[in-house]
């Protein structure tokens, strides 16, 4: 069975535009922090918070809202989901400082998996 990501070029390009927009905005507002520092913070926001949320938003609300709307919804989902899944392991005694990067990466992988589509099934449909 063959699988492929159900993401269109437009969805990916708009995500890139959004991330660039965020970078420019933060560079302007936080100009005293230096280019590299703001670049790192902006990348972290885009990759570790926005991306997982966006992938979830694409899966859940694709039919209801346009891609740009989903980018904003995805950012909101990203903030809530990362906070929630950062908290859950701590209940089992896991030191949350150790999963700061692992947890968003896991969420991105889950986000990609839920956006996988069965090529054969799609062709039949």
């Amino acid at each position: 069975m063959k699988y492929k990501l159900n993401l269109t070029k437009e969805q990916i390009i708009n995500y890139v535009y959004f991330s660039l927009g965020l970078l420019v905005l933060l560079q302007i507002i936080f100009y005293k922090s230096g280019l590299f520092r703001v670049l790192v913070i902006s990348l972290k926001l885009s990759l570790f918070i926005h991306l997982p949320g966006y992938l979830v938003a694409l899966k859940t609300f694709k039919e209801e809202f346009d891609t740009i709307g989903l980018l904003f919804i995805g950012f909101a989902f990203g903030l809530i989901l990362t906070a929630f899944f950062y908290y859950v392991p701590s209940l089992f005694g896991i030191n949350i400082n150790q999963i700061t990067y692992i947890m968003p990466i896991v969420l991105i992988i889950v986000g990609l998996l839920i956006n996988l589509g069965n090529v054969k099934k799609e062709l039949n449909e």
Partner: protein
């Protein structure tokens, strides 16, 4: 990008303009154009410093399963959480991920939450009418003015995060439940409970309306909500086990029920209680919009499955909720911190309806006119509203530097006596050491009674969860509660402390005299000055005496 695709972004241009404007307006008071703030910007109450202390503590401990020691007076006891955990976990995540100080991370996190709440409102209104969505935006600027902004600067952070989660849940109210959405809905619901469950009843009321209006999906909605509720309860069970031992509390069933809907004693935000008068003329416009919305709902009761009906019922419900403090549900006062969001919806609606009438009459070009009106409203409001341009905090840079110096350079078991004639706001909570203090209140008492500070009781922050909260009883450690109550106000000789920290920001000569008198009573030969700045003085006691030797 071709023109068609570019057009899609143009539909979001008003929102993007507003977001940029919000960042620009809030920057002087929140960030000062820098991620690297040397001390907190615009923290104006003890609760805010408590929030920052929680984040430092969670970072140190690696989790938030037990109450932080700074709130338990460093007694070493273990008790269940007094605070709901998720917001502080969120702050810690941003702090760790972005590598910025907690007070910057929290402000950035809350600002993003508010901006995304506005964005979600924009997106859902835009689905009904682009023009209405554009006219909704300008009045949201009220959110960033006093008293509404006090929710952030005074540290009512959990509530703000809860409002943001609530705004996200509107997406689920307005759309059909699917399997994928149900999974995310469970996480949203659980997050809401773990952030601030006090107004959970209104979240439930919202989805009860969904069951009523979506008649064609009755079975699906009931089963989805039921299953989601069971799973949410399971996820948050540990929280409820800690907090919700309702039956163990003697009496007061009526009060508990009233507490659930927001009748919470005489809850108020002191000087920051939002009132209708804060909106000025816009309040009356919003009222007209609300009246129109009610009229529409009654007239179209048979079309209740439409998106428009659900949208109107959603905003009308919350508009009514915000009016509830008038009938004694004072807890809603806290909810009113995000009132501008809902008022803006109806202000936008009225402007949209007027625009529609004028447009039809004079055959105005649609998009151009919308853009011009939007800009006029935006510029007008930026001039009309007062945005804070100062980053004043209770602690200044030198004070904060001394606090951090103590955390980094003193023994973790060290004790500290704080002489603080400036405030009574517990802004010293980020000092991660056992401490007692003389605050502004003690100074006033010493002046009034003409006695020296050493003859007065010093205070001790020790506040284990013992009270009921939101109608629920909290498990606690009875022995610790007793110990704390005995020690909270006590006369402890200064020589028993390892360090003495004096805040030198005296407000009058009497305060200076009191501190001079206090120092003269010390055996100064035992003390060594280890840090001095214009605002603070830190003394180390080289010969600590035991309390019973005095």
């Amino acid at each position: 990008m071709d023109i068609k695709k570019g057009n899609r972004w143009i539909k979001y241009a008003p929102l993007i303009v507003l977001i940029i404007l919000i960042f620009v307006l809030i920057n002087p008071s929140f960030f000062q154009s820098n991620f690297e703030a040397k001390s907190p910007n615009s923290l104006l109450a003890g609760d805010a410093y408590g929030g920052v202390s929680y984040i430092y503590d969670i970072d140190r401990m690696g989790n938030f399963n037990q109450e932080s020691q700074f709130i338990l007076g460093f007694t070493g006891g273990k008790v269940t959480l007094r605070e709901m955990p998720l917001f502080f976990i969120y702050g810690t995540f941003l702090y760790n991920l972005l590598g910025i100080e907690p007070y910057v991370a929290i402000f950035l996190g809350l600002l993003l939450g508010m901006i995304l709440s506005i964005s979600i409102f924009y997106i859902i209104i835009k689905k009904q009418s682009f023009t209405w969505a554009v006219f909704f935006l300008p009045c949201t600027l009220f959110l960033f003015t006093f008293p509404f902004i006090a929710g952030i600067t005074w540290g009512i952070w959990k509530s703000y995060f809860m409002y943001f989660i609530l705004a996200t849940s509107f997406l689920f109210f307005l759309t059909r439940f699917t399997k994928e959405r149900a999974v995310i809905f469970i996480i949203i619901w659980s997050s809401l409970i773990l952030t601030h469950p006090s107004l959970l009843i209104y979240f439930l009321a919202l989805f009860l309306i969904k069951i009523i209006v979506e008649k064609q999906d009755l079975k699906r909605n009931i089963s989805t909500l039921f299953i989601s509720g069971i799973i949410t309860l399971t996820i948050t069970l540990h929280y409820f086990l800690n907090y919700a031992i309702v039956s163990a509390e003697p009496g007061g069933t009526k009060e508990k029920i009233l507490g659930l809907i927001g009748a919470h004693g005489s809850y108020h935000l002191y000087a920051a209680n939002p009132y209708t008068s804060h909106f000025g003329f816009f309040w009356y416009i919003a009222l007209a919009g609300f009246a129109y919305s009610l009229f529409y709902l009654f007239q179209n009761i048979k079309k209740r499955e439409t998106f428009k009906f659900k949208l109107f019922s959603l905003f009308s419900l919350f508009f009514i909720i915000f009016l509830l403090p008038v009938v004694g549900l004072t807890r809603i006062n806290q909810f009113r911190l995000v009132w501008p969001l809902y008022v803006s919806v109806f202000v936008g609606l009225v402007i949209y309806l007027l625009f529609k009438i004028i447009k039809d009459k004079f055959k105005i070009k649609n998009k151009f006119a919308i853009f011009i009106i939007y800009l006029i409203l935006l510029v007008g409001l930026v001039n009309y509203l007062q945005f804070s341009k100062t980053n004043y905090s209770i602690t200044n840079e030198e004070q904060w530097d001394t606090y951090m110096f103590i955390n980094e350079n003193t023994n973790t078991n060290a004790t500290l006596l704080l002489i603080n004639p400036v405030s009574s706001q517990n802004e010293f909570q980020p000092i991660n050491r056992k401490l007692r203090y003389y605050d502004l209140e003690r100074f006033s008492k010493a002046t009034q009674t003409d006695t020296s500070l050493t003859n007065l009781y010093s205070k001790f922050v020790c506040d284990p969860p013992k009270k009921t909260r939101d109608g629920f009883k909290i498990y606690s450690n009875e022995e610790m509660v007793k110990e704390c109550e005995e020690n909270r106000e006590k006369n402890v000789p200064p020589c028993t402390f390892d360090y003495i920290l004096i805040n030198k920001q005296f407000q009058n000569q009497e305060q200076v005299n009191l501190v001079q008198e206090f120092i003269s009573e010390l055996d100064i030969t035992n003390y060594q000055m280890i840090k001095e700045s214009q605002q603070t003085l830190l003394l180390k006691n080289n010969k600590v005496c035991k309390e019973n030797e005095i």
